[in-house]
């Protein structure tokens, strides 16, 4: 009987951890695919309702710490490719292939606030948040669309020079997936609202839709991931400069 009670206490402490960092660790340790391949449609909508659509082939591994993207559409972006490799011990590497110039251009990873290809996603939004680079505070739990959620306040540490002062993130308790996020600029004003949808695939929960609204610019970006494949056996060697130059066949 005592053993059962102890087990119950331990389980409940896992399911309902008390502090923010414990929840963040659970999210971080969530089962994720080794690699993800998807064909993403990026829809940009400005304040006047004018839209622009891009199609991107994305391949990533190690929870997105290595990612390679090829632009398939529109015509003036076709062939442009982007490689990101996150490093623990040095600055991240970002390179772009510009077919018109026939050059791979190394770009600054320190400019985290730059927009990614005109979207409302910045390079910082596309980069994993390291646990030790942020402070996590648990706020009151909430319910979003009938889903019970943990709510975390994530404050980036000063040394990472984030373009945000904080994020408020809603994490679905059942799946430990972030489903909503609000990001605040350095002045403490709300900058972006993000909505994440996910689907279950081969035993993983994988993000299938991201909606980002830049409140200050009255501009939004919707990313819809199609043809999602997980654990397709991508090789580390894919994430090299030479592979930027060629649109993959699949």
């Amino acid at each position: 009987m005592i053993r059962k009670i102890l087990t119950l206490i331990i389980l409940s402490s896992i399911v309902y951890p008390q502090d923010g960092i414990a929840i963040a660790k659970l999210v971080d340790e969530r089962k994720v695919p080794q690699d993800i391949v998807s064909k993403t449609t990026m829809l940009l909508t400005n304040s006047k309702g004018k839209t622009r659509t891009s199609t991107i082939l994305s391949k990533s591994m190690n929870n997105g710490s290595k990612q390679i993207l090829w632009f398939l559409n529109p015509a003036d972006d076709k062939g442009v490719a982007f490689l990101k490799i996150e490093h623990d011990d040095k600055a991240d590497e970002m390179r772009m292939w510009l077919p018109a110039f026939k050059k791979v251009r190394r770009i600054a990873s320190s400019k985290k606030g730059d927009s990614f290809m005109g979207s409302d996603l910045s390079y910082e939004d596309m980069t994993n948040r390291a646990l030790d680079e942020n402070t996590y505070k648990r706020l009151d739990d909430d319910t979003i669309d009938s889903k019970a959620c943990f709510v975390l306040e994530v404050v980036p540490n000063a040394e990472i020079k984030s373009t945000y002062s904080k994020h408020i993130t809603w994490i679905e308790k059942e799946t430990l997936m972030a489903i909503r996020e609000e990001s605040y600029d350095l002045g403490g004003n709300l900058r972006k609202k993000k909505i994440f949808l996910f689907e279950s695939l081969s035993g993983y929960n994988v993000i299938s839709n991201i909606f980002v609204e830049d409140i200050q610019k009255n501009h939004s970006t919707k990313l819809t991931m199609g043809d999602i494949k997980v654990d397709s056996g991508l090789d580390e060697s894919l994430f090299q400069e030479k592979n930027l130059k060629r649109l993959p066949r699949n």
């Binding site: 004018k50 622009r52 062939g79 590497e93 730059d114 060629r246």
Partner: protein, 419 residues
């Protein structure tokens, strides 16, 4: 039966390949600022790039139709036609192609594998280059890259002779160029990453892309025959990309040695040996509001020049020195001024529908500058209207390069459809 099988296999291979077609249609008009008269220079009316991927191979074709409004004449230009093989260890390219070396955005002193097309000198990237038949191989291992390029035939710059609307008038059009005994050219490039920096070394061994007067021969006492050709030149290059906080620095330098190595016994043979350095240092910064600003310091310094040359003023032979030596290889902008500063800026608005650019080129040696502004607006997907103004200002001295460019001040209008 066997032939049918092979045919079937080939058909399947072709059908299961992947075809990529991109291109543009862009009628362009160029008009003088002084009197709004149309300038009669060729422009690329259409461009078509075809790519065909089959297994580890890509077949690339890049063609353009060059058009001139004045004579209403068009010409097809097969700019590139090459095949690329992508083995696991790198890439191998063969055919007529344009190589792009160097890390700066234009004005690269280490990018000497292809000739320049002076008609398209103000276009960006590879649009200003001429393709040449060549073979290239790149090997990648870890953070290292090694590329080797072999060019069997020397291709010179495409020069605009007898073009009254072109800013620089070339005084002489050689009727023939001296034959090059060994026209093989080659280049090697090594690149690696150290921490947050990319560093590269390069070597090129070939010939000048612009012609020089190599000597004078005589038919008889009163008839002389000038001898034109291309000096042998080697270039050692060094380049680097690094980051200082939010500023990106791209820098490259080339050390050139050149000589007239033709083995001829003309009446006058102009011995020429020279060393010069060209460099470009580029800094770029993006503001929080996505406004990109950049600056390039472009320089050309002749270190040493010995031999003889021909003086057009006295119409006689004279001693070559660092002042009268003209480089025949390297970035053309370094030849306009010994040292110049280029400042560029760009900003996109309305979801990248409108792109605004400005550029300012200042001659740091003598008074002279170019101011350019351009705007490109996409009014419907894939359709663009482009307008630009380029204004040149010299100091009143006819020898000043920017003074010579003053009448080239122009505005340009373009309607483009890209597919």
């Amino acid at each position: 039966m066997r032939n049918r099988y092979i045919f079937l296999l080939l058909t399947c291979k072709i059908l299961f390949g992947q075809i990529s077609i991109t291109g543009s249609l862009k009628p362009t008009g160029m008009f003088r600022l002084s009197d709004q008269s149309r300038m009669d220079l060729p422009f690329r009316l259409t461009e078509l790039k075809l790519g065909y991927t089959m297994g580890d191979f890509d077949f690339m074709l890049n063609s353009a139709v060059e058009h001139r409004w004045g004579e209403n004449m068009s010409a097809i230009d097969l700019r590139e036609a090459y095949v690329i093989w992508f083995p696991n260890w790198g890439e191998v390219k063969f055919g007529k192609q344009i190589h792009a070396w160097g890390v700066a955005d234009g004005n690269n002193p280490t990018d000497n594998l292809n000739a320049y097309d002076y008609y398209f000198m103000f276009l960006p990237g590879t649009d200003r280059k001429v393709g040449s038949l060549s073979a290239a191989m790149t090997v990648y291992w870890d953070d290292w890259q090694l590329e080797g390029v072999i060019i069997p035939d020397h291709i010179p710059n495409r020069m605009p002779f007898h073009e009254p609307d072109f800013p620089f008038q070339i005084p002489i059009e050689p009727s023939k160029y001296e034959k090059i005994d060994n026209s093989l050219e080659f280049g090697l490039r090594l690149k690696t990453t150290f921490g947050e920096s990319d560093i590269g070394l390069s070597y090129f061994n070939g010939r000048d892309r612009s012609f020089s007067l190599l000597g004078v021969d005589t038919f008889n006492i009163i008839m002389i025959s000038p001898k034109f050709g291309y000096r042998a030149t080697t270039v050692f290059g060094l380049n680097m990309v690094t980051f200082i906080d939010d500023i990106t620095i791209r820098a490259e330098a080339g050390y050139f040695t050149t000589e007239n190595n033709y083995q001829e016994s003309w009446f006058q043979f102009f011995e020429t040996k020279a060393e010069y350095v060209q460099y470009v240092i580029q800094c770029e910064y993006r503001t929080a509001s996505s406004f990109t600003i950049g600056a390039q310091l472009i320089g050309n310094h002749v270190l040493n020049a010995v031999g003889q040359t021909f003086d057009l003023a006295t119409m006689g032979q004279t001693t070559l020195n660092t002042d009268n030596f003209t480089p025949g290889l390297g970035t053309p902008f370094a030849m306009i001024a010994e040292q110049s500063l280029s400042i560029v800026g760009s900003k996109t608005l309305f979801d990248e529908s409108l792109e605004l650019n400005y550029n300012l080129l200042i001659n740091l040696d003598e008074k002279g500058q170019m101011i350019g502004v351009s705007a490109e607006y996409s009014f419907v997907e894939n359709w663009f209207i482009d307008g630009s103004v380029s204004y040149f200002e010299g100091d009143g001295n006819p020898q000043n390069r920017f003074e010579q460019l003053e009448d080239f001040s122009h505005f340009q209008l373009q309607l483009a459809y890209r597919f």
